[in-house]
């Protein structure tokens, strides 16, 4: 019985965190967009517009549920829930600190990738259910894009998993810092940093080709959360709003929540698998045990949050810099560039595992 209560509390806490993050992220996104374009962004509601997103969500909550008369009402009303649930369930396996994760699955990474793919069904439901050609076009683009980009993203992650030899997110993280138990950590395959830790022990520095794998994963993850420069599914200037054209009020809020939660989720997956997760970036230098001092429960949550928010910031920076890709360019980038490079990374990981880590 107590079990179930903890489950529910954890789920509510996660939802609260996602909602708070979305409020903060929408505000910071608008501010970043403003500053990049030499504007000020929201300034009127609250000091420096800080209450703007709170006012927005209050407005959305009060709005009426409107279903277009030609829409498939069941698909239309279920789609936002499916979209959000898919992303929300992805947070189940995310490690926050040593020993702290909503669920410690042995197949954590696999589960995460699998459950996030359900998002595509939700998007298609939203587009089809709206019975609107713009929505349908947007959702078809979204599905084509998400399914295509899952391949380089997945293979880039497999390249890292081959180095780590596990799909357990906690175990992958543990192998990138001073809390490693039985494995040796080699910086660039040469220097044993098992007791030095810090940034030197992160996966991207354990094997240099994982840096390329991370870049591939990062680009693919941008496409998976439908963000610029890969935002053709909701291209405002051509498709009105894409799959969420017909949505309003709380349903739209849920789609929006899912989009920002997805940003955080993919950033967190990248951070966990490639950038050391809850491990500190500060290494032990001689008697100055920076890594030992900055490892622990609170520090773990702190580092996870800081790293993930930095990656989310990078996503926003890219969004306000790069123009949208055309649909054919998008597919060409995925199939002709990212997928071959991801395969190359996977092959290099195999060689690295056999020759450098085991043989060396």
């Amino acid at each position: 019985m107590v079990f179930y209560i903890t489950y529910i509390i954890v789920a509510i806490a996660l939802f609260g965190f996602i909602a708070l993050f979305t409020l903060f992220a929408v505000y910071s996104e608008r501010k970043i967009a403003g500053f990049v374009q030499d504007r000020l962004g929201p300034m009127e509601t609250g000091k420096y517009g800080s209450l703007q997103t709170l006012a927005d969500i209050l407005k959305l909550i009060q709005k009426e549920f409107i279903t277009p008369s030609a829409a498939d009402s069941i698909l239309f009303s279920v789609a936002p829930v499916v979209i959000f649930a898919a992303v929300f369930l992805g947070f189940v396996v995310m490690p926050w600190a040593p020993g702290i994760a909503p669920a410690a699955l042995h197949l954590g990474l696999f589960y995460g990738l699998a459950i996030v793919s359900v998002d595509a069904i939700g998007l298609l439901m939203a587009g089809w259910g709206s019975n609107n050609k713009f929505s349908l076009l947007g959702s078809m683009r979204a599905v084509a894009q998400i399914i295509s980009y899952e391949i380089p993203a997945g293979i880039a992650l497999i390249a890292a998993v081959m180095i780590a030899q596990t799909l357990d997110m906690q175990e992958i993280t543990r192998q990138q810092g001073i809390m490693v138990e039985d494995e040796r950590i080699l910086f660039l395959g040469l220097w044993d940093v098992s007791h030095i830790g810090g940034i030197l022990a992160w996966n991207i520095f354990q094997a240099p080709h994982l840096l390329l794998a991370y870049v591939i994963f990062f680009i693919a993850s941008l496409a998976e959360c439908n963000r610029a420069p890969f935002d053709i599914p909701e291209a405002e200037s051509e498709l009105v709003g894409g799959f969420h054209t017909e949505y309003g009020g709380l349903r739209f809020a849920f789609i929006f929540l899912a989009e920002y939660a997805m940003m955080f989720l993919v950033a967190m997956i990248g951070v966990t698998v490639f950038l050391g997760g809850w491990n500190t970036p500060l290494p032990n230098i001689g008697t100055v045990k920076l890594a030992d001092w900055t490892t622990g429960l609170a520090w773990g949550i702190f580092w996870t949050l800081i790293k993930t928010l930095l990656v989310v910031g990078l996503q926003m920076w890219i969004r306000w810099t790069l123009p949208r890709l055309r649909a054919d360019q998008l597919m060409a980038l995925c199939w002709k560039v990212l997928t071959p490079l991801a395969f190359l990374c996977m092959a290099l990981s195999g060689i690295w595992r056999v020759w450098v880590i085991v043989g060396g």
Partner: protein, 186 residues
């Protein structure tokens, strides 16, 4: 293909550097700058937004904004209404029986301005009326923030005569006319 991709990464990096420079530059603000100052175009960096009702851009005293009429200087010649390309000026005149006064530049006034309305919703701020005005009584001012809740309030009336006065002046004129007719017939 890989050459194109490499090029894409290089140009993306350049673009990111530009946006980052603007992002960091946004710590500074240009504030409300006076365009008449010499250094106006040197300030290229920083936030350009002017938070309008709270701060305003300094503008010249007589700029191309809302029209103003000094009705005491008006000789009711109707030239401005004729010059107006959008016909936003409506003037009605009543003839006086004699000279009724002089404007500040010495022109003789022989007409009463019964009606002098400018529909600011129609006005296109070309300034042609101010060019043709012989007594320079119609001018453009530095006022531009005149939001109204009622459309009729955008029609500015500059005539100062009450309807009774207009009636009286009309009666005077027709009386004067009738007297003249009677004198001719004799």
């Amino acid at each position: 293909m890989f050459k194109t991709t490499l090029q894409a990464f290089i140009t993306a990096a350049k673009g990111l550097a530009i946006t980052l420079a603007h992002f960091i530059g946004a710590r500074r603000s240009r504030h409300a700058l006076d365009i008449r100052k010499a250094g106006y175009f040197d300030k290229q960096e920083g936030v350009t937004t002017v938070q309008f009702p709270k701060e305003k851009m300094p503008i010249p005293e007589v700029a191309r904004y809302q029209l103003d009429v000094e009705i005491d200087d008006c000789i009711v010649c109707d030239l401005c209404a004729k010059a107006c390309p959008v016909d936003c000026i409506t003037i009605e005149s009543v003839k006086a029986t004699g000279v009724i006064g002089k404007t500040s530049d010495g022109s003789v006034k022989r007409l009463y301005a019964a009606k002098f309305d400018i529909d600011m919703a129609k006005c296109m701020y070309c300034g042609l009326c101010t060019v043709v005005c012989p007594t320079e009584c119609i001018t453009m001012t530095d006022l531009y923030d005149r939001s109204m809740t009622n459309l009729a309030e955008l029609t500015y009336s500059f005539a100062e005569m009450s309807p009774q006065e207009v009636e009286e002046k009309k009666r005077e004129w027709s009386l004067f006319q009738a007297e003249k007719e009677a004198a001719k017939r004799k």
